[in-house]
């Protein structure tokens, strides 16, 4: 069997403090229900600058300038100990500022919904056109010359037509209009979230092309795996983000579709991409997702209460290229896929058995045969103050405990195993973004340099949030060293038929 390979990855962040303040769902509902709240008053003092965001250790790990394990060497709290000489450009991607991002919203908008003030639009258009990544790969930059507006016109769209404001350092520079007079699936609120997701995904796709050996015209299929839904009132989440994003980067030979399963969707999508490549249906598949404006500042009240900065101020995005076996890139073992079945049960123990132990045991491996695991990689500086604990650490402890129950490890080894198989969480709490796949960039490097042989990527999803089922979701896959074997040793049906025919002929001849 020849396996598909992990050909390339890209990871980007967009620093969006004004979107946090005005469009983060927690802040938005607070403004509506409790406009004089102490929390809202405290927000300005707890926002970070772009420089703070660039210097923040976990963000540098996300864009590939440091390894997540390097965070162990940085004194906590990480937000008080920024990295010296940190840059917004990383090995796997980059960090964008909010002023450029609003221009990106305009450049990906096909329905004249994004309105920007004329001078700001002109200045941002120049920045975007000069950008070595977006300026090179986005084919819709002419949108930035269309329909410049005035502050008065923008104000009237907000006041009279329900448009959502775009602020920059508190100053009004634009708005996003509703896409229909009364369709609840096309309100300005929904369009805001969808355009944010689309623009940030198109940004990371451009970074994938800029930093890896794949061209837009080479992509056959795109799988988008965010947690948003686009459609109208008759088909509320009809899709298709994947094609809408591919269009921005000129992926003219690609088609695509969207996969949804809350935070588990990226891992599902990786399995789907691998299957499509291994079966020969497509040669180059890209799995990608943009960020979520709703989740910005999601745990802000707890952060302000503990007097720490609002660390949920960035949109996350990733893009992963799955391609045909080239004999050197790490292979994706499609014969070792763990799945949380409908009948698996919801206890953590049952979940870990289904997605971690079962797939390994089925091929005669054990937890000990995996060098590093990557499950839910949320940054603990965001989750611990909010009472959700250190999520990556909890996952590593569960995996180690499962190993202890299976007598693969001794009980006394628990902490050592956790250290060996894990790493600190380094990913913003953007739902689908932290779930397993942010490690793939680092994993590719570690496998190719021989530091590790095998990693397991785990996606986990809270399906009960959709109120249709109480079921949990989880899926895992293995990425490991390429043994250089690219040929397919399997025998096709025609060859088998021919072999049988020849044997029967020989047998018939022997009877003569």
């Amino acid at each position: 069997m020849t396996f598909p390979v992990l050909k390339g990855t890209a990871y980007t962040l967009v620093h969006t403090p004004d979107i946090l303040v005005h469009e983060g769902k927690l802040q938005e509902s607070e403004m509506r229900n409790n406009p004089d709240s102490d929390y809202l008053k405290a927000i300005p003092d707890h926002l970070r600058s772009f420089e703070d965001v660039v210097g923040y250790g976990p963000n540098q790990a996300y864009i590939g300038n440091i390894h997540p394990r390097d965070l162990n060497k940085i004194e906590k709290p990480w937000y008080e100990n920024p990295l010296k000489d940190a840059t917004a450009d990383g090995k796997f991607g980059s960090i964008m500022s909010e002023d450029v991002f609003y221009g990106c919203l305009k450049a990906v908008d096909m329905f004249d919904l994004v309105v920007l003030e004329a001078k700001y639009q002109e200045e941002t258009a120049k920045k975007i056109n000069d950008d070595p990544v977006i300026g090179k790969y986005w084919v819709t930059l002419d949108k930035l010359t269309e329909n410049p507006s005035t502050v008065d016109e923008i104000k009237s769209l907000i006041e009279e037509k329900d448009a959502k404001p775009l602020y920059l350092d508190g100053k009004l520079v634009g708005c996003i209009k509703r896409a229909h007079e009364f369709d609840a699936a096309l309100t300005s609120d929904v369009m805001f979230e969808n355009l944010v997701s689309k623009a940030s995904a198109a940004y990371v796709l451009a970074e994938l092309f800029a930093k890896n050996d794949i061209k837009p015209k080479d992509v056959d299929y795109l799988i988008e795996c965010s947690e948003e839904g686009c459609g109208d009132m008759f088909q509320r989440a009809g899709g298709n983000y994947a094609k809408a994003i591919g269009e921005i980067c000129g992926c003219v030979n690609a088609t695509g579709s969207d996969t949804r399963s809350f935070c588990a969707a990226p891992a599902h999508s990786m399995v789907e991409a691998s299957a499509l490549v291994q079966s020969g249906v497509y040669s180059n598949v890209v799995v990608l997702a943009g960020g979520s404006s709703a989740k910005l500042g999601m745990n802000g009240k707890d952060h302000v209460k503990k007097d720490q900065p609002l660390l949920e101020d960035c949109l996350g995005a990733f893009a992963i290229h799955v391609g045909e076996n080239d004999g050197k890139s790490p292979v994706i073992r499609t014969d070792i896929v763990g799945k949380h079945k409908i009948g698996s049960g919801a206890a953590p123990q049952a979940i870990m058995q289904a997605i971690v132990a079962d797939p390994l045991e089925q091929v005669g491996l054990s937890i000990k045969d995996v060098d590093v695991f990557s499950a839910e990689m949320q940054n603990p500086e965001i989750t611990v103050p909010a009472g959700a604990g250190d999520i990556p650490s909890a996952n590593y402890k569960m995996i180690a405990a499962l190993g202890i129950m299976k007598k693969v490890f001794a009980k006394s080894e628990l902490n050592q195993v956790v250290e060996n198989i894990g790493m600190p969480g380094f990913v913003p709490t953007q739902g689908h973004i932290p779930s397993g796949v942010p490690f793939l960039g680092h994993a590719k490097e570690m496998i190719e340099s021989g530091d590790i042989h095998r990693t397991m990527i785990i996606g986990k999803g809270s399906l009960f949030l959709g109120r249709l089922t109480n079921l949990f979701d989880g899926i895992s896959f293995i990425v490991e060293t390429n043994d250089g074997h690219v040929g397919d040793d399997s025998v096709d049906k025609d060859t088998i038929r021919q072999m049988i025919a020849e044997s029967m002929k020989q047998f018939a001849d022997s009877l003569k």
């Binding site: 123990q349 049952a350 009472g387 604990g389 909890a394 402890k397 569960m398 405990a401 202890i404 129950m405």
Partner: protein
Amino acid sequence: MDLENQQRIKDLTDKYGKDDLVVVLGGGEAEACGLAAETVSTGDPTFAGPLAGVQLGLKAYHMFELKDEVDPAVYDEQVSMMEMVLDKDAINKEVQEYRG
């Protein structure tokens, strides 16, 4: 505690009365478990949900505290791994505090 869960617990208390009702928690973190126990006994301390200012007076127990009440085989299958992983003593102590 999740606002919808607060409403569900409030509705169940209205329907069955507090004398025949206990709340079983399965949280993995002491502070969050304590908050949940506090919410169902003396009211939502964050004043965000339906139990803000509502003293249901319900007793909350963490699953770890109920080990002797359930079939050992079921407990072993469902909970024993998490017993190894979580800070059981801290969780139990925090939850017990709100039972008075």
